[in-house]
Amino acid sequence: MAVLSYLEAIRETLRQEMRRDSRIIIYGEDVGVRGGVFRVTEGLQKEFGEERVIDSPLAEAAIVGTAIGAAINGLRPVPEIQFADFIFPAMNQIIQEAARIRYRSNGAFHVPIVIRAPFGGGVHGALYHSQSVEAFFAHVPGLKVVIPATPYDAKGLLAAAIEDEDPVLYFEHKAAYRSLKGEVPEERYLIPIGKADVKKTGRDVSIITYGLMVSYALKAAEELEKENISCEVLDLRSVRPLDVEAILTSAKKTGKVLIVHEDNLTGGIGGEVSALIAEHALFYLDAPIVRLAGPDVPAMPYSPPLEHAFMVSPEKIRDKARELAQF
């Protein structure tokens, strides 16, 4: 089986899907000739032509707004927002239009689009190339929000997102693009959206997380094994819909829950996950739920020591998990 980077897995999935379905088009800023600023779409315009891999004007609301129209006319657009930080001009089109048109047309129209966007920090990207934006969208009924943690998941979740009849936001962590590598089967497969995955089983503490933080949590768990602390790592895979059953199963099993995300603490996914556990599994808990997240500051600073201070790291996860295990 081929070993691919996270980025290569996404590119090869786009290629495979576009070969399979001629309705799929990719467009966004610099995705064509340049192949994207991170090279995710490199070579795709060459293979599929300028009519299917399109360099769009620099206007995020237009990218998403026209994707909605194109989807209604029968295409399967996979627009790219160059950085998640720049998705905000398109918020109205995503939240009010893409997410709601099925509802307000009483089922007459729906919008099968996949909006891909690189997100996340720790890459010295400064304030406007580092943000985590998933919580804004996870709040919105009608949307699905997928954040893969491994090259294998990146492929199966992207194929599933493209096949989905509803709008899906697909967030790719920039630090994962080249640092994460793994085996990816050649043949097409789908990972159902809304199903979490136990990436490591454990007895003492459940670390519930998603995206890049999954690999950080696995590193932390590995270190804690040496101290005879056994952590379970649950990868949510999608933050909307959440896999409630998997969350509760893990929480009930270990009785101690650490929720980890890079996104800001307040109003983040961790709040929703902990509310679900409090509502449905309170009496299984042996310790208060703990959240480890990016601090509530407006953005990821450019200054290296400050960026380091912001970022969640394997060490921070390890320390929190240890404290929780010893509670």
Binding site: P57, A61, I72, I101, N106, P241, E279
Partner: protein
């Protein structure tokens, strides 16, 4: 450049209903049909206003004064063409085949008003100003990529031209040479804000220059001018001529919605000036003077319109209310487990005879 000269107002009937231009593209029969439709729509609009005042429907945005533009635009389209309009564009939708009771259903809150029966090709009415203009570009551009002959028309008001979505849409359509027509119904007012506070440009049509597309300014109260102009525009756009911006100069005769009172911000003199040239009165004068329709025939049409509108009121009033559980319909293609448990909890309350209340996952 003088924009008023570069974009002269295309007019066939003047304010008094005198023929001052060429009407060779519109037959007498078509004019009779237009008069009938304008009458039906005006009757519906006024009835809707009264129904709101009686508490029988909710908030309603009247389109009176804009029927000529909306019908003229809709009449110039082929059945497969897309129409993307706003909350004030029910006249265009009804002309295209949406049942007459749908605008009433919409103001009563029936979700069914969002799904137009086949074969009407139109998006549900847009409330967020200008957002539908981008959808029209996407529809048009996709049709072009898919080799379909259909085009897309966006309807919007003068206020929408201040929005970023308007400019992004025109730019993208121009770059992609998308077969889209942008029809701005310049009705002079965005709720209480007059046009001169909306923009410093002299015309809306002149904005086409910036995008290197064709721009036209037509008298939106003159159905012959609107229809003939749109016929030509639609043909050119369908043939691959690229997008076109049409400014239809019209006037909102009524309030913004039933929740608004224009006497608080609009001078009576202005109102009277525009009222004189309003589309139905203008067409009526012309048809009478040219003996295309007699007073008696017009009266018969007005009677017919009243009957049709009464039937629409009955249809809307007898439309079955939505079952509470249907609040969960059409969120996703298939309902996710968390939403299903919320729906089940609500269904339980309903079974127990309690009204829909709090529900959680």
């Amino acid at each position: 450049m003088d924009p008023l000269k570069a974009f002269p107002l295309i007019q066939v009937l003047d304010e008094d209903g005198r023929l001052i231009g060429d009407r060779s593209q519109v037959s007498d029969d078509q004019l009779r049909a237009f008069f009938r439709w304008l009458t039906i729509l005006r009757t519906l609009d006024q009835r809707a206003w009264n129904l709101q005042r009686q508490g029988r429907i909710g908030t309603y945005p009247p389109f009176s004064g804009q029927e000529a533009t909306q019908v003229g635009v809709a009449a110039a389209l082929s059945p497969d063409d897309w129409l993307c309009g706003s909350y004030r564009d029910w006249a265009a939708l009804v002309y295209r085949g949406v049942p007459l009771y749908f605008p009433l259903l919409n103001s009563m809150g029936h979700p069914a008003a969002g799904a137009f029966p086949d074969p009407v090709q139109a998006l549900p009415v847009q409330v967020v100003i200008a957002a539908q203009i981008l959808h029209a570009v996407g529809l048009a551009w996709a049709a072009k990529l898919q080799g379909e002959p259909r085009i897309a028309v966006a309807l919007f008001g003068d206020g929408a031209t201040s929005q970023g979505d308007f400019h992004e849409a025109l730019n993208l359509a121009s770059v992609m040479s998308a077969p889209a027509v942008f029809v701005c119904q310049n009705n002079q007012w965005a709720i209480s804000v007059p046009l001169h506070r909306q923009m410093h440009s002299q015309t809306i049509a002149q904005r086409a220059i910036a995008y290197n597309i064709e721009g036209l300014r037509v008298d939106g109260n003159d159905i012959i001018a609107v229809y003939q102009t749109m016929k030509e525009v639609v043909e050119r756009v369908r043939a691959g001529g690229g997008p076109v911006l049409v400014e239809a100069v019209t006037y909102r005769l009524g309030a913004h919605t039933t929740a608004d009172d224009p006497t608080r911000y609009r001078a009576r003199e202005e109102d009277e000036r525009f009222r004189h040239g309003e589309p139905l009165a203008r067409l009526r004068r012309y048809l009478l003077a040219s003996q295309i329709l007699s007073e008696d025939e017009m009266q018969a049409i007005e009677e017919e319109a009243k009957g049709l509108v009464e039937q629409a009121v009955t249809d809307a009033a007898s439309y079955p209310p939505s079952p509470p559980e249907s609040v969960f319909d059409h969120v996703y293609a298939s309902i996710p487990p968390q939403l299903l448990s919320q729906q089940e909890e609500l269904a339980r309350r309903v079974r127990e005879g309690r009204r829909g209340g709090q529900s959680h996952g």
